[in-house]
């Protein structure tokens, strides 16, 4: 059996080379559907016999996408379009994009116009999710998507296959939650960069294959004594942090992520879909139940208190808010999150991040100082 180091190296290899993973799927005769952020019902793709492949932009500089966006546009959207315009996504049989924030809405439509070689499958989801009308809207939209995704994969998605996919995804999300908890207890064995790599690899690999490896890793980690000695325990909040320059700084300063409120991690992994009844309805209802996320409308702003709660429950030494540049939902919540953390007595630092930032020296200074303060 592979050891912890080997498994982590395997995940890192995939996370660092998504194109190679995409080529592998294509070589195996699979259709691949791109999946953007957030809460995209990948289960449909899996049930159609295709591979869902995460597309959340990438680290780099937008150039062609600048024709479509002003400079003050979030980098996930800019870089996703840039990838499309640069023909990096041509092997995809389609890409599913949502409109959960205003930025994504424009981005999805620009993608449709600019990247004609990759069909854009528009995922409409309700923001008013607590009402019956919202629930019905989600069911109607997801029912339509079942047909659209099936067509993109040259198949008709049947309910048995969809139920199987839901089961697999539930197991995968549960295993991933376990992984995040194990990584939190073993920072000396799983660095911040490796934690991000395990998550990213999950966005690119066949979920069944990823699940097996994550379960093996979880078992090995659970057998090791837990220790955060010598590390500064933090809660990470934000949309993403899988930027090598940033994870390197976090690792160099011995930060341990003991809990997260990251859209690409725990927020996405919170979904648990009912395995009873109509699977499409179950997917819609699971989305309607999701919460604690700046991207989801919530008149009580549960997300804000959730970050402070994570701090209290995890025994963290502080909270690091990685604010995605030009992200409205995150920027609107940020002052409230800062205040909730202050009220909870949590040392707090806010760092602006962006996939296109070339120098993280200011972030380094801030994180080093934060490490000094909480250390």
């Amino acid at each position: 059996m592979a050891d912890i180091k080997e498994l982590l190296e395997g995940f890192t290899e995939v996370a660092d080379h998504p194109k190679a993973e995409l080529d592998r799927h294509i070589a195996a005769g699979k259709k691949v559907i791109g999946v953007g952020p957030y809460y995209v019902l990948e289960e449909l793709v899996y049930a159609a016999g295709a591979i869902p492949f995460g597309v959340w932009g990438r680290v780099g500089t937008a150039s062609k996408a600048r024709e479509y966006f002003p400079p003050f546009y979030c980098s996930i959207c800019q870089m996703t379009l840039e990838m499309g315009l640069n023909h990096e996504l041509d092997k995809l049989s389609g890409i599913m994009l949502t409109a959960l924030c205003d930025t994504l809405r424009g981005a999805s439509q620009n993608f449709r116009v600019g990247v004609t070689q990759v069909p854009m499958i528009f995922v409409t989801q309700p923001q008013n999710r607590a009402t019956e009308a919202g629930r019905q809207y989600a069911i109607d939209s997801y029912t339509e998507l079942k047909t659209t995704v099936g067509e993109a994969c040259d198949t008709i998605i049947d309910d048995d296959k969809l139920a199987e996919a839901i089961k697999l995804y539930n197991n995968w999300r549960a295993a991933m939650r376990t992984f995040l908890a194990e990584a939190a207890k073993h920072p000396a064995l799983v660095s911040v960069a490796q934690r991000a790599a395990v998550v990213d690899a999950g966005y690119y690999m066949d979920k069944a294959e990823h699940l097996k490896k994550v379960e093996a890793l979880n078992e090995l980690l659970a057998a090791q004594p837990a220790s955060t000695d010598g590390f500064k325990k933090v809660v990470l909040s934000g949309v993403y942090y899988d930027i090598p320059a940033l994870t390197q700084i976090l690792d160099e300063n011995h930060f341990a992520v003991v809990a997260d409120d990251i859209a690409k991690e725990s927020r996405a992994l919170q979904l648990q879909v009912s395995e009873e009844g109509d699977p499409t309805v179950a997917l819609a209802e699971a989305f309607c139940k999701a919460g604690n996320d700046s991207i989801l409308f919530d008149e009580n702003k549960g997300h804000v208190a959730h970050v402070a709660d994570l701090y209290k429950e995890s025994g963290a030494d502080g909270v690091v808010l990685l604010l995605a540049k030009f992200c409205d939902p995150e920027e609107f919540d940020a002052p409230h999150v800062a205040k909730a953390c202050k009220d909870a007595g949590a040392p707090f630092v806010q760092i602006e991040i962006d996939q296109s930032t070339e120098s993280y020296e200011q972030a380094r200074t801030q994180l080093e100082t934060f490490a000094d303060i909480i250390g």
Binding site: P347, E352, T357, E361, Q362, T365, Q366, E368, T369, A371, D372, I373
Partner: protein
């Protein structure tokens, strides 16, 4: 034995040598940051002034943006920690330190014992930093050290509304072209920096006593405008620019 603190900043390198009691015995400053000859020049100047040879230096602590490139250092510390350490010695009892450096502006909150409690930094933008003033001095055709005198000769401040350095530069040029006096525009430039700095300080919350460090602290007119804006007197020191290096030297001493 002696201890050396080296602050390799973005536009200047500062060096301080202290003795075993933490008293400053030498200081050096050279224009230029990491990757230039400035660190060696600043060190040579500080050692000469202290009449100390390199072999008598027990520990070297580097700080500032270019600290990683200063090979001789035995240890490194973040510049914010060094600024807090230096300020707690330069201004005993100080609770809020405003530092405007070449490329960034920061506000530090110190605890009662002088430890760093919290901090805020400006966005990744030159507005409100020393660089902003350098650019504006370039437009006025004067040295940045003359801006204070220009401001003092103004009778009203001309508002500069652009926050971006590049846009503010063209705004300043057009104000001058429309006949505004250079002194009033200089006062407006100062107000623009003061507004941003006060905003940053308010974000953190100002607890008096307040001190100001960094090269811009020596600009008296700007400092007085900032005092008015935040409503507290601001202490400074002729060593304001050396504060980070001094903190680093104290870290070296305490190591």
């Amino acid at each position: 034995m002696f201890y050396l603190g080296m602050d390799v900043g973005s536009t200047a390198t500062k060096c301080i040598v202290v003795d075993g009691s933490g008293t400053i015995v030498g200081k050096g400053l050279a224009r230029g940051g990491a990757g230039t000859k400035a660190p060696a020049a600043a060190e040579a100047e500080a050692l000469a002034q202290a009449q100390v040879s390199e072999s008598e230096i027990e520990t070297i602590c580097a700080t500032g943006y270019g600290r990683h490139l200063f090979d001789q250092a035995n240890m490194e510390k973040s510049e914010l920690s060094c600024h807090a350490k230096g300020a707690s010695r330069l201004f005993p009892g100080v609770r809020t330190v405003i530092d405007i450096g070449g490329q960034d502006a920061k506000v530090l909150r110190l605890g009662v014992g002088g430890s760093l409690e919290n901090f805020a930094m400006n966005d990744k933008c030159a507005a409100g930093t020393g660089r902003f003033l350098d650019v504006m001095a370039g437009v006025f055709g004067c040295d940045v050290s003359e801006l204070s005198d220009y401001d003092r000769q103004s009778d009203h401040s001309v508002s500069i509304s652009s926050t971006c350095t590049v846009f503010a530069e063209s705004e300043v040029i057009s104000k001058l072209a429309s006949g505004e006096s250079i002194y009033d525009v200089a006062a407006g430039v100062h107000d623009s920096v003061v507004d941003r700095t006060a905003g940053l300080a308010n974000r953190l919350g100002i607890v008096p006593p307040v001190a100001m460090t960094g090269g811009v602290a020596l600009n008296d007119a700007l400092r007085e405008r900032l005092e008015k804006k935040i409503g507290y007197p601001i202490q400074t020191s002729e060593l304001a620019q050396f504060n980070g290096a001094f903190g680093a030297a104290i870290y070296a001493l305490e190591a």
